[in-house]
Symmetry: C2
Subunit: 344 residues, 2 copies
């Protein structure tokens, strides 16, 4: 592969001058510029990014560690992050933790070794020492979606409290009283926050949330399946199951179907996270939608602000309830028109 020396030789100039035109430095003669450009063209020269980064101490690269690539929510987040980063002149390299803390740490380490300029993380657990240490280290970092309390790290996330309250109101209005939840790992913020929001919303209606109706999942489909089987085996199964993410909802659907039961007649189902398929399931699934693309953009901005020395902005955006038919309401019944968050 041609190096900068080859270009210099071909252009009859020093590597310093070549470097200057490559980097758009103003003090270069028009003549030098054209000769270098021609040489670059002729040789098909491309600067070695490793060497450049080693020298300049910046990679123009962002690291993004997501919890699960198979989750459409994170995939949409990743896409939004990549687009915004590209628009700002950064590329992004993605690490998939697959909801496994040790894999998450592996990716964080690899990314740091590559000297990425900044790190975007949706932590897979609440207590990774590596993450603490990284937060205190020199590499700028921001949390997206999930976060770890007690660290001086900007957080960009959605607040589902209002939407969960709307969901419970909707369920209560349909006459459901025995409501269950498939929770994510308690070690993650989204894992426990969603349960707490649900519990509080139920409390407002005087409905308890007994331990038997809180299933411990891990945000992946299998756990949704397993937990739902448990619910269905209960002497008194729940009227509705609320899955804390879309993959566990998929698992729940598998389990319900395997038992030969139907949604919503035998049991209702709702999910946190909205995905395009929820429109076409039998029946369409009531879900809580996050402003995913917006979160991705805000996260990139917070991170690049940090990198470039501007004050970063933590952002919390509201999630909203999307009522469909999986909890029993007919599609044609309009939701309460006074509530702007409750839309079809």
């Amino acid at each position: 592969m041609a190096g900068i020396k080859d270009v210099a030789a071909a252009a009859g100039l020093s590597v310093a001058t070549v470097s200057r035109v490559l980097n758009g430095h103003p003090s270069v003669s028009e003549d030098a510029r054209t000769r270098v450009t021609a040489a670059v063209e002729g040789l098909g020269y491309r600067p070695n990014a490793l060497a450049r980064s080693l020298r300049t101490d910046q990679t123009r690269t962002l690291g993004l560690v997501i919890s699960d690539v198979l989750n459409p929510y994170f995939t949409e987040l990743a896409r939004s992050v990549e687009e915004e980063a590209r628009a700002l002149g950064y590329s992004v390299v993605i690490g998939n933790a697959n909801e496994r803390p040790e894999l998450q740490d592996h990716h964080v380490r690899t990314l740091l070794d590559r000297r990425i300029d900044g790190l975007l993380v949706s932590p897979a657990d609440g207590s990774s020492p590596l993450m603490r240490q990284t937060a205190e280290g020199p590499t700028p970092m921001v949390f997206v979606d999930r976060w770890m309390p007690g660290l001086d790290v900007p957080v960009v996330r959605a607040d589902g409290t209002g939407a969960v309250r709307d969901l419970v109101a909707h369920l209560h209005g349909l006459g459901h009283r025995r409501l269950a939840i498939i929770a994510g790992p308690a070690a993650t913020t989204t894992g426990h926050e969603r349960v707490e929001a649900f519990r509080e919303a139920l409390h407002a209606y005087g409905i308890p949330l007994p331990a038997e109706l809180v299933g411990q999942g891990d945000f992946q489909a299998d756990s949704g399946r397993r937990v739902t089987e448990g619910f269905l085996a209960l002497p008194e199964p729940p009227d509705v199951v609320f899955a804390a993410d879309n993959l566990m909802a998929l698992g729940a659907l598998d389990a319900i179907r395997a038992r030969g039961l139907a949604v919503p007649d035998d049991i209702g189902l709702a999910a946190f996270d909205d995905i395009p398929w929820f429109v076409h399931t039998g029946p369409p699934i009531t879900a809580i939608a996050q402003p995913t693309a917006e979160l991705g953009r805000a996260a990139v901005h917070a991170l690049t602000d940090l990198i470039e020395g501007r004050p970063p902005q933590s952002v919390t955006l509201p999630a909203r309830l999307v009522v469909r038919r999986s909890c029993g309401e007919p599609a044609t019944t309009a939701p309460d028109p006074r509530d702007p968050r409750s839309q079809l």
Copy 2:
């Protein structure tokens, strides 16, 4: 950040010796090894991967350029690639082309600039000069899923011909005669191969495939929506629509639903690519499943073989038909038991 010099100073040794223990070189005394290890530990030292790669001319990194991160097929492929690569000691950085040739080229360039050891690509078009040039360049490359003919590059892909034939047999058996397809871009191999396979299979039954029943999509949901609207507006709409990937099937479903029609009563639907949601749509969707994870593993092996100087292996694996109810067959009707590829 601590560098190798700091470690050397802390250990009272030269950087050369530190480097040797870091790289597991045999000629190091036990004493040196323990002192270095202690110093590394104490300083929290991590080698700078950029500097190491610059020196050794290898990054232990694979580049993967996929056509669309929002497509669960590619997401599953990416996951499989990453896992296999990790097992072999490589990390992978993903570029998402979003079905846009210029974005694909952007990612290929960026990846090459970073001096990845090898490139895995599912080309978004059939004629990128960059891709040709890269194939002839020094960086090992293999095509996954899609490929470009005429290049000396190993190809790892699925062959859907048999499955498409099974699909047509299934449709013909149900009495359907007017069959349409939503094709991918003709510039991609999977874009035209699937149409040709479909056309030939129809031909065997004496069924023509007129131009009006071949819709031009781009593998993304919107195009599926648009093409399907066109089909439905035909004086004589098709009995069944076959979408050449799962995202266009999603779009088709949107369009059918928007028209107030029902699957399969008003129109049948089948898709290339099988995804977990197809089990739960109303009705469950008949699809052609690829051995995705296996393809990912085979691709990584072909690429690492190339990188490490072993002869690489091109691989073609058969896809298989998964009959569900979206074309009219009741779930309880068993498929032909003599055909092992036709499974529920």
